[in-house]
Symmetry: C2
């Protein structure tokens, strides 16, 4: 097992950049060699955090001690910085969304290929516990085959007050949170997306979307609902999933949740009609006593390693990337289909670049 | 004020028929003159309940004491019975869905017109307390202009075990519960539906849908999500609505719910990023302390009178129907658009027969 620590420079030392700094400090395979940011105040912050503050990107890229850079800048400059770095022989970790379009990312991939260097996108929410619990349920069919997955992230703070408001810098919620939720679903569901229907929300009056809803239909019969909102003062559950034998819910990041399944032991007893509003309903009456079982959610499934460890192994040539660039490209392509669906108010079909 | 009690015969004495019997007994303007059902056991049930059991529809329609009939049969025979009754000079209350298609209902309307008799459809869920609370919030802008309404009814009992399984008899959840939820929304939102996108669910393997989801876009900017499910072992809230100033929720028919609004008094303080899963988020952090206010839901809005009282007043010529046939026709037309959208997996536009 290699004990080399790979030196990495964080380019863009804002919220995410400094968060990466903390996480990399806890990691044994990577070492923060410094940071680079355009802003003077962030250079000071970097020095205070104990990281060398490079004075230019050029200085980073010509430093032969630096093996890799991590790009945590606004989205519109990912491509330019990544390509420069790859051409200078550096490996690259790039924040999500890796690019503003599929085409931009293809240029980045070509540069990585040509340079023979690793480019990996930080789709870190593949490691989220909530997602990995759903992944466990999907793979193990804990509540029977899952046929509907609803993945929602709701906030009430609007769009954060920075470049995320601007279209030119790749702002908006579809590119910010959407790219995570869509990446999780395509990583999970090994099937072609046959159609997508979506709408964007512009409640806050920004030029970029403050939320969106998309319905994805997969060839294997699974339907997924993906929703991001920033004007939701009450939140709907983070995950709501339906299987043939039951339903599961994860309320929020505290992992509060449960699964309720049909009780196979109990004889099927017709429920009694209940009064609901001014009417009667048997259909919507609660299942009869003993007809269902409520249980705790299963333990999350495990990925082979963490993101940074995987990156280190990939540049050492000892592992395949967990976040594959073909998958990232597929998600960008799906995002373009979602923009197209919302823009034309049509169902978009035959777009997915799923290959299997 | 009239003190005449109008005599009415209930045709179809199953679950809904006998429920109507109970409700009409509590009403001062209508009087159950008897029932008619094809099944012997239901005739006995009628006699036990103290209602004369007519031996044929003919016997009902030739009884000059009978002013009106209430049709609570399976959906496929509504049209035939209604037209016979109207031609025999009877007024008609018909259960929902009034017909299996817009065309069928148009035939019924023509018969009512020709006979100069009243035909009213029992869209009774316009009187549901949960709906009337949402109506109050919509009309009074309690949490600001409502721009998104999500109306869900979730059960786990499958489709009830009778004719509701059969397409020929007008089974399936879109025609059963869908007609209520759609009627509520079109009654509430005085604007044209510009598009609908929908999917039906066939999880239980029936020839009719065991649930559906539809997204309606209205010309006035309101978006509505309507969902019915019969395989939901955990329920999502009955209502989830978003306004410019806040969000409201009604969990279920017990009226458990709340509304959460922006606190105008409190200065806007940027929320602190939270750790969520393996990442950080400022966008999805809970609003900062004091930034929101949680309150009880408002009292329900009131309709001018109850359904049976309104029916009595309409046949007396002293009131307009609260459930207008033009509205019922519009809902049937919307249901046809939903079937078309689901069948072709396309967004359907330019179909609504809204007139204003």
């Amino acid at each position: 097992m290699s004990t080399t620590q790979h030196s990495i420079v964080i380019v863009g030392f804002g919220g995410m950049g400094s968060y990466h700094g903390q996480l990399i400090n806890e990691n044994s395979r990577l070492k923060v060699a410094g940071t680079y940011d355009l802003l003077e105040e962030r250079r000071s912050a970097s020095a205070e955090a104990g990281y060398k503050a490079y004075s230019s990107l050029e200085e980073v890229l010509t430093d032969s001690e630096v093996e890799a850079i991590l790009i945590a800048t606004p989205n519109d400059v990912h491509k330019e910085i990544a390509i420069q770095a790859l051409r200078a022989g550096k490996h690259v970790i790039c924040e999500k969304p890796v690019a503003l379009s599929k085409e931009e990312f293809e240029d980045m991939l070509a540069a990585a290929d040509e340079a023979g260097r690793v480019l990996m996108v930080n789709q870190n929410r593949r490691w989220d516990e909530d997602f990995l619990i759903i992944r466990e349920m999907y793979n193990k069919e804990t509540i029977g085959t899952l046929f509907q997955l609803e993945s929602r992230v709701h906030g009430a703070n609007g769009i954060p007050g920075d470049w995320r408001h601007l279209q030119a810098q790749g702002g908006g919620m579809l590119l910010d949170w959407g790219v995570h939720l869509l990446d999780q679903l395509l990583f999970l569901i090994d099937s072609k997306v046959t159609s997508v229907s979506a709408s964007l929300s512009f409640i806050l009056g920004n030029e970029v979307d403050d939320g969106f809803e998309a319905v994805l239909q997969f060839e294997n019969g699974v339907k997924a609902v993906v929703e991001v909102g920033t004007t939701n003062f009450i939140t709907l559950p983070r995950w709501y999933v339906k299987g043939i034998e039951g339903t599961a819910i994860i309320e929020d990041w505290s992992m509060t949740g449960r699964m309720v399944t049909r009780n196979q032991e109990s004889e099927k007893i017709e429920p009694k009609p209940i009064r609901a509003g001014v009417g009667l309903t048997k259909t919507m009456a609660p299942p009869s006593e003993g007809a269902t079982i409520t249980e705790a959610l299963p333990a999350p499934s495990q990925l082979p390693s963490g993101f940074y460890d995987n990156f280190a192994a990939v540049i050492e040539g000892t592992a395949e990337p967990i976040v594959k660039n073909s998958e990232v490209l597929r998600v960008l392509n799906l995002i373009e289909a979602i923009f197209a669906s919302a823009g034309t108010n049509q169902v978009i079909k035959d777009f997915d670049i799923y290959a299997k």
